[in-house]
Homo-oligomer: 234 residues x 2
């Protein structure tokens, strides 16, 4: 037996990824919520899946909602941090289109690469409402950053009267990766496809090669990485 968190003994060795009991709880909960359902999964079932006692789980999370909130917030945390950083660069060396492409590519890669497709829980009635305001606020801020980058990329509306529309559609194309993944149809190329599609919607399809290069450079400059996306396309 190994010791976890507040010193409670484990009932078995864990085989879950995660350096801490907290991370293992999140991984087990993500698996059960996305494959069995949120309402039907008890905290007891989560504890069993980790190999800890239910009382130990409560040292880390007071309620099942707390676990769900942390999982949901985790789906936007990296994308939001990146979008903030990409938006904050003020020296004029990166075009708004390249920033929007980089945000879509990085955010989409995050949605496709987690071990569990937690985004399928976004529209649970249980995940709406005041209890999840922190997640909803983060997701709202991320959507707002997409819209602002879209407006900056397309100062004069192209094919629609509202310039924020371009960034909004990019946000929704990226979130559609959740649905694509649930349908078992995500490929390594999928995040790049939605980032490229966002550019076409911004009227920048003819300079896609330059934008892609600038986007990858921005991702590297901000200390992030995406899996070799251009190699996967045609």
């Amino acid at each position: 037996m190994t010791l976890t968190g507040p010193g409670r003994p484990r009932t078995r060795e864990s085989t879950r990824p995660g350096a801490t009991a907290r991370e293992e709880i999140l991984d087990a909960a993500a698996e059960l919520f996305t494959t069995q359902g949120y309402a039907t999964t008890s905290t007891r079932a989560v504890a069993d899946a980790v190999g800890i006692r239910q009382s130990s789980l409560y040292h880390h999370f007071a309620t099942k909602d707390d676990i769900l909130e942390e999982l949901l917030t985790g789906t936007v945390a990296e994308g939001l941090a990146f979008a903030r950083a990409a938006s904050a660069i003020g020296d004029g060396t990166v075009s708004p289109a390249a920033r929007l492409h980089a945000v879509a590519l990085f955010d989409g890669t995050q949605l496709c690469s987690g071990r569990w497709n937690i985004g399928v829980l976004y529209h649970l009635p249980e995940a709406r409402g005041e209890r999840f305001r922190s997640f909803l606020a983060d997701r709202g801020e991320l959507r707002g950053l997409y819209r602002r980058l879209g407006s900056a990329a397309v100062p004069a509306p192209l094919w629609h009267g509202d310039a924020r529309h371009h960034g909004e559609l990019a946000f929704r194309l990226v979130e559609s990766l959740v649905s694509l993944r649930a349908d078992g149809q995500v490929t390594p190329d999928s995040p790049l496809q939605v980032a490229d599609a966002a550019m076409v919607l911004c009227g920048a399809g003819s300079t896609l090669g330059t934008i892609r290069a600038d986007s990858l450079a921005l991702i590297a400059r901000l200390g992030r990485d995406v899996p070799d996306p251009v190699a996967g396309t045609h």
Copy 2:
């Protein structure tokens, strides 16, 4: 008291839309599943919401899954019937782009106009698997028709190597209306926006005016109607 279905008495007069007890059950279930959650809603709660006895509900639906299946199938039925009809027209008088625009506009209008946003239930773990193969097959056929229309509209790949990609993105943009609606951000303009966006992704943005007119003519020709979409745009 009024008589419903197999002659069971109602416990109260219904205030729900629906000409038949079956339709009222579907309406009540759609409300409860989308606002309270699927797993947490019992058939007893659905019967109570209609004002019938649980035993009367079982005359119409043997299980809660049967209700969910009919609701899910209902979200794609009209769009699928329209897409089949639009695809079957063979006289060369309607361009593939106008067909794809019409399918997206009509299908998107359906997703936005039902009384309840049933599409939020698409990615429930409970709605996956063999039990729901009829719904999954219908949705898969609809996605395939989008892809084929996209390939016909863009015979040579534009900005991506796989020509089916254009139709696939149109399908996902239309389904993103489910998410937009859950976020309370759908406007009367939203279905037209996604249909137009699909055209831009197909490289047909410069002929949007013609395509819109042909799309609306096709919808009328197939005996359908959409609420005055062009009036809502700019």
